[in-house]
């Protein structure tokens, strides 16, 4: 079923919307949750919560890109679950490594929150991401949006893991500079 039809089902409050979403994007959302949470029971719950939140959000929302809309929900749910758990109980996902890398973008432990609202930061990151050349942007997002492992990204883009790590390191440097020059940090 195409996305427009699935969205219509949500708007009509037809519960088949959830079944169709699960059939079309279940694997995609599970992969996102798995990247963040690792091999835990939480993955299944995060994906189930995704359908519930989508049901709450549509209407009034009418997603432009249903796949990314659902993926974003799964990402948020999984991230919040991970944050709520004690560090030693967190699953074996990629989140810890990803957060460690992103910490490099904030020099000297600067407190981003003190200077910037989340929304402003999102806007800044949006402009940064938009301006990257297509392939670099995709690699950056595979790591920091989808929380994929370096090995997985390397396989996806036909590169070596070392080349992906080097590229990500440079992109983090660019992001740090961008945030500094823009006065965000």
């Amino acid at each position: 079923m195409d996305d427009a039809r699935i969205i219509e089902l949500y708007w009509q409050r037809d519960q088949r919307a959830i079944g169709e979403s699960e059939a079309k994007y279940g694997a995609y959302c599970r992969a996102i949750a798995h990247n963040i949470l690792g091999d835990t029971e939480d993955v299944r719950e995060a994906v189930n919560d995704t359908w519930w939140q989508a049901w709450q959000a549509i209407p009034p929302q009418r997603p432009q890109i249903l796949r990314a809309f659902l993926g974003r929900i799964t990402r948020n749910i999984s991230f919040n679950r991970c944050k709520a758990q004690q560090a030693d109980k967190r699953g074996g996902g990629q989140l810890a490594a990803v957060l460690e890398e992103l910490a490099e973008c904030v020099p000297g432990g600067e407190d981003v929150a003190a200077k910037l609202e989340l929304q402003e930061l999102t806007q800044a990151l949006n402009s940064f991401v938009a301006a990257l050349p297509a392939e670099k942007r995709r690699i950056f997002l595979c790591r920091y949006w989808y929380t994929e492992s370096v090995a997985e990204i390397a396989a996806r883009f036909g590169m070596t893991a070392g080349a992906v790590s080097t590229l990500l390191h440079r992109l983090r440097g660019q992001l740090r500079l961008y945030l500094q020059e823009g006065g965000y940090i």
């Binding site: 195409d2 996305d3 427009a4 009418r62 997603p63 432009q64 890109i65 249903l66 796949r67 990314a68 809309f69 993926g71 974003r72 990402r75 948020n76 991230f79 944050k83 989140l95 990803v98 957060l99 460690e100 890398e101 992103l102 910490a103 973008c105 904030v106 432990g109 600067e110 407190d111 981003v112 929150a113 989340l118 929304q119 930061l121 999102t122 990151l125 949006n126 402009s127 940064f128 991401v129 938009a130 301006a131 990257l132 050349p133 297509a134 392939e135 942007r137 995709r138 997002l141 595979c142 920091y144 949006w145 989808y146 996806r156 883009f157 036909g158 660019q174 961008y178």
Partner: protein, 287 residues
Amino acid sequence: MRQAELIYEALGGIDERWPADAHRRPKRHFAAKAALLAACLLLMILVPTIGDILAPKGGVGWWQDEKLPLDIFEYNGTYYEVVPTTDSRTLRDFALPQQITPDMVGQALGWPNATHGTQEETQLYLYQPYEHIRTDTDGELRAQRAVMIAERGGVYSYALFCNFIPFDSNTHQEMSEMLAVYGIDEAADIAEVRIGSRGYTEAADIAYIYEVLQDSISMGNDSFQQLIFGPLDTEEARQTFSIELAESALEMELITTEGVVARNISYYPQIGYISWALNYYQLDKQL
């Protein structure tokens, strides 16, 4: 770690089209890219003072574009030019009606940031007649972004796509991304191609042109300057060649089957390049 968490969380809120696009299969043109790399290496060996030749003077850089619009705003990483309904010439060029009625105003998108021109608050809407247009990029459906509606103080204008916001002077987009802006993801989406004074409407011609465009190698301004003007010895030679290129350039237009018009594309037959919205595309065949 709190700061890193904040960045991670903020990334989750970026424009959905970027994560949607991230899983696209990368296009590989190994031979062509290897040739480009070889050309760059050769250039680095032959020209020791590379800094000099990277200077914009003499090139056809985007900052020299006299067509740069004056009333621009930024929305989700993209620049749009506001075109009032009184600008009949531009509207004719883009095949847009000279009146915007309420039924032509689609879904509200938000408030973009003014960049040049008026500081008056602008509300952005989808352009309803094009609202159904989608490109299927590896299973991802993306809406056209070529034409939107901008509303200021109850007055509607068109907002036409200019370019994606450049991060640096070598930023570039792949051809498929540019075409997707206009709702084109296959040759069958194009009804007509105009190159200079010639128009092509035959399916075979369009399929050929589409294939050449899709197979092009994208690059930013720095790379283009390096490749085209780098080998020239003197500033004068670069200036002369730049003028020659500009004079021989052919304007190109794509008109989709849905009636969306892509303009401001320059084709340089002498060197086999296209420039479009701050991007340069090296073609492997002549158009």
